[in-house]
């Protein structure tokens, strides 16, 4: 029997076809090209491109940046979401807007802001040079820019969750004699753990893949201030397509891995009560 909500067969096939074609052209094909190109000269060539000292330096720098940025943004994100989701105070909507700022501003502008503040001609640049502190065109600048751009991910994920959960469970814990720390570890944190995990994954993916802001502050010094995305760009500009794709495939693998973890989390989330 035909239901009122069922379209004719040709319409269904057409719409499904368009959606699949779109997915194929814009998602599957580019991803496939990355891997095909990366391995086009064989596995030994791929391994050589990845193990090359400058590539290894880029991978190390990216991992180090993530290792600093991620914990910082997790702590900040939880603190901000806790304040916004569970308390009433003046300036709350302003804080919410500020957290969104890195999403709204182009990453290139974000990078430029750091150059204008910390660069040689910037506000505090001369003072920094006098004290022999390097931020721009050095690792601290890269960490700062990455932290700024990935700022909202954890907080954005947690704010709606904490708002929806309200404060009754925390109040319950308090009347049962729990102190603030116990309330946080035993009640608040377990309730947001999947949302937090999800925010961490997104934050991690973006921190590793960030190009624009990092490009402005890094200075592209090979083996020193090149992250994986910047290294890919350099290799590509030098017509080393296979090398570029080999390193890029690492990022693509990360993206795929992230998607797998995310799906597993969502599956766990819908399975657990």
């Amino acid at each position: 029997m035909r239901r009122a909500t069922t379209d004719p067969a040709w319409a269904r096939w057409l719409l499904t076809g368009i959606a699949l074609a779109f997915l194929g052209c814009f998602l599957v094909l580019p991803l496939a090209v990355v891997f095909i190109e990366a391995f086009s000269k064989g596995i030994p060539y791929f391994l050589a491109a990845v193990r090359e000292p400058d590539a290894m330096a880029a991978i190390r720098l990216t991992l180090m940046t993530v290792a600093i940025v991620l914990p910082a943004n997790v702590v900040f994100g939880i603190a901000a979401a806790w304040a916004i989701g569970k308390f009433k105070f003046k300036g709350k909507s302003l804080l919410t807007t500020l957290i969104d700022l890195p999403f709204a501003v182009s990453p290139v502008i974000s990078g430029l802001v750091f150059v204008l503040v910390f660069g040689a001609q910037g506000w505090v640049g001369p003072w920094l040079i006098d004290h022999n502190i390097r931020i721009i065109f050095a690792v601290p600048g890269i960490v700062l820019a990455t932290a700024f751009v990935t700022f909202p991910f954890v907080a954005r994920e947690l704010i709606p969750l904490m708002q929806a959960q309200g404060t009754d469970e925390e109040y319950s814990a308090v009347t049962l004699g729990a102190n603030g720390w116990q309330t946080f570890w035993r009640v608040t944190l377990p309730n947001i753990k999947w949302g937090l995990f999800y925010g961490v994954i997104l934050c991690n993916a973006r921190a590793m893949g960030e190009f624009g802001a990092v490009s402005v502050v890094s200075g592209h010094i090979r083996g020193e201030t090149n992250t994986i995305p910047l290294h890919v760009e350099i290799l590509y500009n030098e017509y080393n397509a296979v090398g570029a794709f080999a390193v890029a495939s690492l990022l693509a693998l990360l993206a795929l891995g992230t998607l797998v973890v995310k799906s597993v989390i969502e599956w766990r989330q819908s399975a657990s009560p």
Binding site: D168, E169, Y171, S172, A173, V174, T175, L176, G177, A178, N179, Q182, R186, V187, P190, N191, P273
Partner: protein, 350 residues
């Protein structure tokens, strides 16, 4: 343990939730805080629990004579049951009940096996031991309510505070559970305050009812006292259906002559079941009225009658057999007599 509150004031911004409220709950009683939403009853309960604090310098809260106004909630030994239970959703029923013991400092904390045993005993007390391994989302509303109660009792509270304990349940479960709560209270003899907006609930199970309105306490008394001797028109209207009638239409002027202006402002309060109806032809006392509407589905027949003289509409409740005996139809003429009335004008007695 007795609970006292003196001169409690609480403002939220420009909104006054409590304006100098006093409360006295004797040891071992079950007391209802009854009032419409926005009357301040939940705020008062939260102040007693230590979840809110009275405005600076306004009032004190005493437990058994000791000032606890500045004691934090966790140290007051109160069991608080939230309106929506606020069970820990990621913990099993057993762990919910065990929580209050698990967060104790090491030297006060029983061993893990003792905690689990105690939690099981409490679940038996609320008749839910079979559900110890379930999660809150797998329970019905009534079961969640009882888990919340068991959790609150685990810390051996000196007082039990319940915020709209039956508010989120459907009508049948509400009735069962409130009778159960009454029996439960008689068993454990713990000083208990519960907040409700349902006058039937309060009158049925409480030892004492505290009626609140607009940040004030209107009246305190046993259910019978507040029902039979309401202290204000608000209490009278809040505790049941009521007809408000203009006095002169019902009572002849006290002395002959020009109309009595004092009495003209007076209003008479009468409950629908305190009005007697007789067929008009039978004669006798009473004011003439016309039956306008009859609603006879239910234990009582509810009639809407229009008084001939003043054209005021009056709601009347009579038994269905009475209605059948009189054979009343819409548009019939009847006589109505007020068996019991109230008036809040001090100079005026009927």
């Amino acid at each position: 343990m007795s609970i006292e509150a003196h001169g409690i004031r609480k403002k939220f911004g420009s909104y006054t939730a409590l304006d100098g409220v006093d409360l006295n709950v004797p040891q071992g009683k079950l007391v209802a805080l009854l009032g419409p939403s926005g009357s301040g009853k939940t705020t008062l309960l939260r102040i007693i629990a230590g979840l809110e604090f009275p405005d600076a310098g306004s009032g004190r809260v005493l437990f058994h004579g000791d000032d606890v106004t500045d004691v934090p909630a966790g140290k007051r030994r109160v069991g608080f049951v939230f309106q929506h239970y606020a069970l820990f959703r990621h913990m099993s029923v057993l762990e919910n009940v065990a929580f209050g013991l698990r967060v104790r400092r090491r030297r006060d904390r029983p061993s893990s096996s003792a905690i689990i045993e105690r939690a099981h005993r409490l679940l038996e007390l609320v008749q839910l031991d079979g559900l110890a391994g379930r999660f809150p989302s797998q329970l019905s509303g009534g079961e969640r309510q009882r888990v919340a109660l068991a959790r609150a009792l685990a810390v051996e509270p000196k007082v039990l505070l319940l915020d709209e304990p039956f508010g989120a349940l459907d009508a049948r479960v509400r009735k069962d559970l409130r009778r159960w709560l009454r029996r439960f209270h008689d068993e454990i003899q713990l000083t208990t305050i519960f907040v409700t907006h349902d006058q039937e609930e309060a009158l049925e199970i409480a030892d004492e009812v505290v009626i609140m309105n607009k940040a004030h306490v209107e009246q305190v008394g046993t259910p019978q006292q507040v029902y039979d001797k309401p202290a204000s028109p608000f209490v009278y209207q809040f505790l049941g259906n009521v007809n408000v009638l203009k006095a002169p239409a019902l009572v002849p002027p006290r002395r002959p002559g020009p109309p009595d202006h004092e009495a003209a402002d007076t209003q008479i309060y009468v409950r629908p079941h305190d009005i007697a109806l007789t067929p008009h032809d039978a004669g006798g006392e009473g004011l003439s009225a016309i039956v306008r509407h009859i609603h006879a589905a239910g234990p009582y027949a509810k009639l809407l009658i229009e008084q001939v003289q003043s054209r005021e509409h009056v709601e009347v409740e009579i038994s269905r057999s009475e209605l059948a005996d009189m054979g009343l139809q819409v548009n019939d003429l009847v006589r109505m007599r007020l068996r019991q009335t109230h008036s809040f004008d001090e100079d005026y007695a009927i």
